[in-house]
């Protein structure tokens, strides 16, 4: 094997043709890694999202008349501190027992009848979203601990080429919030504050700030890469 034209993979192979970890077997003819298809690139929802994404029951993560239901509300602001009246907010969360309305929840189905766990709301009402739901319970963190009650949030809008993702936590869960691994990983209390909803008469409120607006004392919400 002295040809100067061999590929680096072949030159790097062992004499006994066995595989060096991390390299394909010489001449095997088989794929040595999984086939991956490139994912479809995202695009903005644009200004006309209401045509395609409006559901009469969109804002309702729970069946109507569910006891103990609350409203999660807030406004979406841009970098000028102006409300964003053409955004869409989607929420996904566990039920009060910490279970998800999803077959992959390994602990069994949700216990609240009519609990969908998902809601979507436009912000046509002065930049305000409003979602009717039940406050979620704590959720296992997958490593033997617990996450504080939280809601995963996606924000879509004209001017966002991909959704942005954040979370809603609850101000009256101080103890659970202090032990939450996601909140704990944030750099400071100022960051954590952008994720914590405050109590209102009929639920909780948390505004979403897409960017800082120093003039109006607004700090950019913590967004997550999922």
């Amino acid at each position: 094997m002295s040809s100067p034209h061999l590929s680096p993979l072949v030159r790097g192979a062992r004499e006994d043709n066995d595989r060096v970890p991390g390299t394909p077997r010489r001449g095997s003819g088989f794929l040595d890694g999984p086939v991956r298809l490139g994912t479809t690139p995202s695009a903005t929802v644009g200004p006309y999202l209401a045509i395609g994404l409006t559901w009469p029951d969109g804002p309702h993560a729970v069946a109507e008349g569910t006891a103990g239901a609350i409203w999660l509300r807030g406004r979406v602001f841009d970098g000028n501190g102006d409300v964003v009246p053409d955004a869409m907010v989607e929420t996904w969360q566990a039920d009060p027992d910490g279970r998800f309305a999803h077959p992959d929840d390994p602990r069994g189905p949700v216990t609240v009848p009519g609990f969908r766990g998902f809601a979507r709301s436009d912000t046509v009402d002065g930049g305000q979203y409003a979602v009717r739901t039940l406050k979620p319970g704590p959720v296992p963190d997958g490593a033997g601990g617990w996450q504080a009650p939280h809601v995963d949030v996606s924000v879509f809008a004209r001017g966002l080429l991909d959704r942005v993702v954040t979370r809603i936590y609850f101000a009256d869960e101080a103890e659970a919030n202090a032990a939450d691994p996601v909140l704990a990983a944030l750099p400071d209390d100022e960051s954590r504050r952008t994720l914590i909803a405050q109590r209102t008469d009929d639920g909780y409120v948390l505004d979403v700030h897409l960017q800082d607006c120093a003039d109006k004392g607004m700090a950019e919400t913590v967004f997550f890469a999922v």
Binding site: T39, T40, P41, P47, I51, W92, F118, D152
Partner: protein, 255 residues
């Protein structure tokens, strides 16, 4: 396994939940949230680097939405309000897969689009192109057991917008998909092959060059219907579960 060494399969820790991890497209082939040429991103796209969120239960589950959200009439956008829409009738079809090549079955696909003249039925779209009394631009379908979807519509027109001087959006259809996990949520736009407006469109050009072809449908003569409709195929790929065999300390064999 065809490996030259043998190894017992790893046992998951009993105390821990075993969760899939969804792969993330490399930055160089993923649409950024902001793009300088698309002016509206300047005040809306967050400026700080997003914080990595490990995939836990909330992220690997997601809304299960399907048949209950659609009717048969939702798959034909050309028949609305008691009549037929104006324009070139087309069939749009394809498969919804994840990046591991697995079909995404029984999944909701929501679409919306402009009419043949490039006008949306929406209060804020008031450029001087006609509305079509028999076109509302809304479609919903559910993928079958093999992840296939299909709907009938009219080819949307291009339309002007205020992003820059004489700016026109290439013809496109908006798509919204959930997959089966929060991580897989996708809202995107399907384009038509060879559109001469691609070059000046910042929303198209925000897609990294290596991935742009994934946003463009393919004309399919085989699926056209004689005396009835043209056909365009578009496969949609959602994120799959991460399978990086080389991150383990074994000999690299793939089962």
């Amino acid at each position: 396994m065809t490996g030259t060494t043998s190894r017992d399969p790893r046992q998951p820790q009993e105390s821990a939940l075993v969760l899939p991890r969804y792969g993330r497209e490399p930055e160089g082939s993923r649409t950024p949230v902001a793009f300088p040429g698309y002016r509206s991103t300047a005040l809306r796209a967050p400026l700080r680097t997003p914080v990595d969120l490990p995939h836990r239960l909330t992220e690997v589950t997601g809304p299960v939405l399907g048949e209950d959200r659609v009717t048969a009439a939702d798959a034909d956008l050309t028949l609305r309000m008691g009549g037929e829409a104006q324009g070139q009738r087309i069939i749009v079809f394809g498969r919804v897969l994840d990046s591991d090549g697995r079909p995404v079955p029984h999944a909701l696909v929501e679409v919306w689009q402009a009419n043949a003249a490039g006008r949306y039925r929406h209060v804020v779209d008031n450029w001087p192109a006609p509305l079509d009394p028999h076109f509302d631009g809304l479609g919903r379908v559910v993928t079958d057991g093999l992840g296939r979807y299909e709907f009938t519509t009219i080819r949307p027109g291009a339309y002007p917008w205020g992003n820059h001087h004489n700016a026109w959006r290439p013809a496109h259809i908006h798509f919204s998909l959930f997959g089966t996990a929060f991580t897989q949520r996708l809202v995107t736009q399907m384009y038509f092959p060879g559109d001469p407006l691609f070059g000046q469109d910042p929303i198209y050009n925000a897609i990294p060059p290596t991935a742009r072809h994934r946003a463009v449908s393919r004309f399919d003569l085989e699926r056209t219907q004689d005396n009835w409709a043209l056909a365009f195929q578009w496969n949609i790929v959602l994120r799959g579960t991460d399978q990086t065999p080389f991150e383990t300390d074994d000999d690299g064999d793939v089962a």
